[in-house]
C-alpha cells in the first residue's frame, strides 16, 4: 500500500506545515495478537505512532483503533451510562476473567447510550496516555481516537432503520426484517461483529398481531470479536457474512522486517467520519 505521506513534495516547508495543520489525516493503529492490556504490544503501538509523528510534526490526526486493542460490550438493557458501564464490566469479568479493579484502573471506559445503541468500549489507559504523549512530543494533534468500525456501524445501523421505516417494509411477517441483522468488520486475523435486533417487529411477529406495529428501529444487541476461524458466533451463518469493511495487512516497515502498525492511506480514508449522505 502506498501512502501519500511519503510522496516527495515541491511545496515549501512552511506551506507543508500549514497544510499539515489544516489537512486532517486518518490512520488506523493496528495491533499484534496479544492478551488484553499487554504492555509489550502497547509499547509497539506507541512506538508506531511516535515514528509517524516524527515524520509528520504538527499534523492533525484522526486515529482509528484496531479491535485488538479494545474491549467492547453491548448493553441493550442499560438506560444510563453508569448502568451501561456496570453491565459491561460484569461481562468482561465473567467472560474474560478480568479483575474489576484493574478494569477501572488500567482501562479507559467509553460508554454510548443512545436510543438504538447502548454499548461500552474500553482501551488500555497506558496505550491512550502513550499515544497522547508521543503525539504531543511532535506537536501532532490527535483529533480522534476511536474504534475504526464505529462510524461504519453507525452507517449500517442507520441504513437498516431507514429500510425498516420505508413503506415497503411494513410486512411484519417478513422473516428477514424480523430476524436479527449482523455486520462484521475484518482486519488481519481478527473479526468484529455486531448483531442488532428490531425489537418492535419481533414483538409484533411473536404476538401475531394482524396490523403492523410501530417501528422503533434496530437496536444493537451483541458485539463480539474473534479470529475468523473461531466458532464464537451466535449463529454459524454470521461467519459467512461479507464484511462491511476490511483492513489490509499491516505493511512492513521500511528497512525492517517488522510490521508498521500504523495503517494509513486509501483503505482508511472515510472510515473515521460520518459517511456522506
Amino acid at each position: 500500500m502506498t501512502s501519500d505521506v511519503d510522496t516527495p513534495s515541491r511545496q515549501p516547508a512552511w506551506l507543508q506545515r500549514l497544510l499539515g495543520r489544516w489537512q486532517v489525516r486518518s490512520a488506523v493503529l493496528m495491533a499484534p495478537a496479544h492478551a488484553p492490556g499487554d504492555a509489550e504490544a502497547i509499547d509497539a503501538g506507541v512506538q508506531a505512532l511516535s515514528q509517524w509523528a516524527q515524520a509528520h510534526p504538527g499534523a492533525s490526526l484522526e486515529l482509528g483503533l484496531s479491535s485488538r486493542w479494545l474491549l467492547c460490550a453491548a448493553t441493550p438493557d442499560a438506560t444510563t451510562a453508569e448502568q451501561a458501564l456496570q453491565l459491561a464490566v460484569q461481562q468482561w469479568v465473567h467472560y474474560l476473567g478480568l479483575d474489576e479493579a484493574s478494569l477501572q484502573a488500567d482501562w479507559v471506559l467509553q460508554p454510548v447510550v443512545s436510543p438504538r445503541v447502548r454499548l461500552v468500549c474500553a482501551a488500555p489507559r497506558a496505550l491512550l496516555d502513550g499515544l497522547h504523549e508521543a503525539a504531543a512530543e511532535q506537536g501532532v494533534r490527535l483529533r480522534a481516537v476511536l474504534p475504526w468500525w464505529a462510524f461504519g456501524l453507525q452507517a449500517v445501523l442507520g441504513d437498516a432503520t431507514e429500510a425498516a421505516d420505508s413503506p415497503d417494509a411494513t410486512d411484519v411477517t417478513d422473516a428477514a426484517s424480523v430476524g436479527p441483522l449482523s455486520w462484521c468488520w475484518d482486519e488481519p486475523g481478527w473479526r468484529t461483529c455486531v448483531q442488532a435486533v428490531n425489537t418492535a417487529r419481533a414483538a409484533g411477529a411473536l404476538a401475531s398481531t394482524p396490523a403492523p406495529v410501530a417501528v422503533s428501529g434496530w437496536v444493537v444487541d451483541r458485539i463480539w470479536m474473534s479470529a475468523p476461524d473461531e466458532a464464537a458466533a451466535p449463529t454459524e451463518s454470521v461467519m459467512s457474512l461479507t464484511p462491511v469493511a476490511s483492513l489490509p495487512a499491516a505493511p512492513e516497515r521500511v528497512g525492517s522486517q517488522a510490521a508498521s502498525w500504523l495503517l494509513e492511506g486509501d483503505a482508511v480514508a472515510g472510515l473515521l467520519n460520518r459517511r456522506p449522505a
Binding site: 483503533l65 467509553q110 443512545s114 491512550l128 497522547h132 476511536l146 460520518r274 456522506p276
Partner: protein, 217 residues
Amino acid sequence: MMSWRPTWLVSPDWAEGLNFAGPRVRTSFWGWALLAFGLMGAWHAADLARQVQAEQEEAQATLARLERGQQQQGVQVQAAAQALEARQGAVPVLKEDGLRQAAQLALWLGHPWGPVLDEVDEAARRSGVVLMQFSLDLSSLGSSLGSSQGASGEGAGPQTELRLQATATDDVTALKWLQALGPRAAMRSREPLSEPYSAPSGQHTLRVDVTRTGGAP
C-alpha cells in the same frame, strides 16, 4: 440506500461518543450560516464605510474647489477694479481741503531755503553782527498760497515773513545789517543787551529784531 436528508439534519453521531480523545467539534450548519451572514454584514459595512469616505473626500474636494474659485473671483474683482482705476487715470481724487494742504506742503518744500539762509548769513557776516535767531512763519508761507493763486503778473509770489534777531556793537552796525537785508526788511525793536559780550568784531551791546517780508531774495 442514500438518505434524502442533508447531513446537518441527520441525527447526531452516537459513534462520536466512542472517541477516547473527546468529541470532535463540528461546526453546525447554523454556525456556518451565522459566519456567512457575519462576513456579509462586515463586507457590507466596509462597503458603506468606503462609500461614505469617498463622498466625504469628494465633498472636501468640492469645498476646496469652491474656496479656490472664491479666492480667484476676489482677485479678479480686485484686478478689475485696479484696471478700471488705471483706465480712469489712476490719480487719486482730492477734495478742496486735501488739495489745499497738498499745495501748501508743496509750497513749503519748494521754498528756496538754501539761498535765503546763504543771504542772511552773508549779510550778517558783512555787517559784523552776530545772528542769534532765524525763524520763518510757516503760516505766512501757507497764507501766501491764496494770494499767490489770486495774484497775477510780475512781483506776485509768496509773502513770507522772515524774523531775524542779532546782536550788534552799535547802531551803525545794526543799520548797516538792516540795509544789507534789503528794502523789505524792517527793524521791529532795538534793545541793549542785559549782558554785553565781546566778540572779534567788538563789544556787542545791542539786540536787534528785524522782519523781512517777501519770497526769495
